[in-house]
Subunit: 198 residues, 2 copies
Amino acid sequence: MGELTVRGAPPKQDRSRITRQRLLESAVTCLAERGWSGSTVMVVAEHAGVSRGAAQHHFPTREDLFTAAVEYVAEERSAVLRRLPAPTSTRAAVEEVVGLYTGPLFRAALQLWVAASYEPQLGPRVSALELRIGRETHRMALELLGADERAPGVRETVQGLLDMARGLGLANLLSDDSARRGRVVAQWARILDDVLKR
Amino acid sequence: MGELTVRGAPPKQDRSRITRQRLLESAVTCLAERGWSGSTVMVVAEHAGVSRGAAQHHFPTREDLFTAAVEYVAEERSAVLRRLPAPTSTRAAVEEVVGLYTGPLFRAALQLWVAASYEPQLGPRVSALELRIGRETHRMALELLGADERAPGVRETVQGLLDMARGLGLANLLSDDSARRGRVVAQWARILDDVLKR
C-alpha cells in the first residue's frame, strides 16, 4: 500500500483501506458500464469520490488500478462461489452456475477480457486470472451437480455447461434475456439430469 | 453511395465500390484486432490504404462506418451459413455451428457487441443485428442437426447449443482453445445425438 504502519494510528490505515476498496469497486462498476476505453484512473477516482492524488497514491498507473480490480473481481467471484447454497436439484445447480455469468462482475470481467485481446499490458494478467477462475468454477460446478469427474465424459459435459453459461451471460449484455434463459436452463437441466445419472 | 451514376464511366463506379469494400473489410479487421476504442475512421482508412478524404466521402462519421461494417459482418456470416456443407453426423453439425463463433467475424462482432453495451449510438443497431443473426443461425442449426422444432424441448436444446457455441467463441479470444473445444464438442455431440433422436 506504500504506507508506513504507524502504531496507535489505525484510523489513517482504515481510511486508506476504505479508499482503496472504494477505488476497486468503482473500477469494476466503471468497467462494466463504460468499458475499458471509458475507464481512466480519473473517471474511476471521480466515481469513487476520491481525489486524483489519492487515487494515484494507491494506483500509480491505469494498469495497476485495473490489475488490482481484476484481482478484486476474482476474489469477489470466489466469495460468491463459496456462499452458494447447496442446491436441491440439478435445475437449481444449473441456475446457480448460470447466475455467476449474468451479474455486474461478469460484465466487468467481460470488458476486461475483450480489452485484453488488444491491450498487450492486460493480456497475460487477464489470461492467468481466467485460468484460475475457470478452474475454481469448474470444481464448484462439479460439487453443485454432485458429479464425479472420474466417469467418462463428465469433465467435458461440465465444461460444456460452463461454456453455455458464459454464452448466456453474453446474450444478456445488451438486453434482459432472463425469460429465454430460464427456458434454456430448464431444458438443459433435464438433459444433464439424464446424462449425469446414467 | 453519394455519387452520380455517369453513363459510360463504370471504372469510377468500380473504384468507388472497391474502396468501400476495402474500408468495410479493414473496419472488421481493425475492430477484431484493436477493439472499438482503437478503431477510428483514420485508423481504418490507413489500414485500407485509402485517403482520409475518400474514407469520409463514403462514411462521414465513425458510426456510419461501423454500422455499415456491422451489416457487412452480418452479410458475410449469412454467406458462411449458406455455404456450409450438409453434415454427415451430429458431431459434424455441431462442429460447423461452433466454427461460426471462432473466426475473425465473431471477434469483430464481439468487439462491437461489447462496445454497444456502453456506446449509446451503437446499442440499438447492434441489438437489431444480433436479433436477426440469432434467428438465422438458429434456423440454420435446426437444419444442420435435422431437428424438428415442433417436438417439445427441441427449441431450447438448440438455443442452449448456440449459447454454448458463443461461450466457446469467447473462450477462444485470448488463447487457442481448439484442443479443449474439440473434446467438449465431441461429448456434447454425443449428448445431442441422444436427446434429438429420442
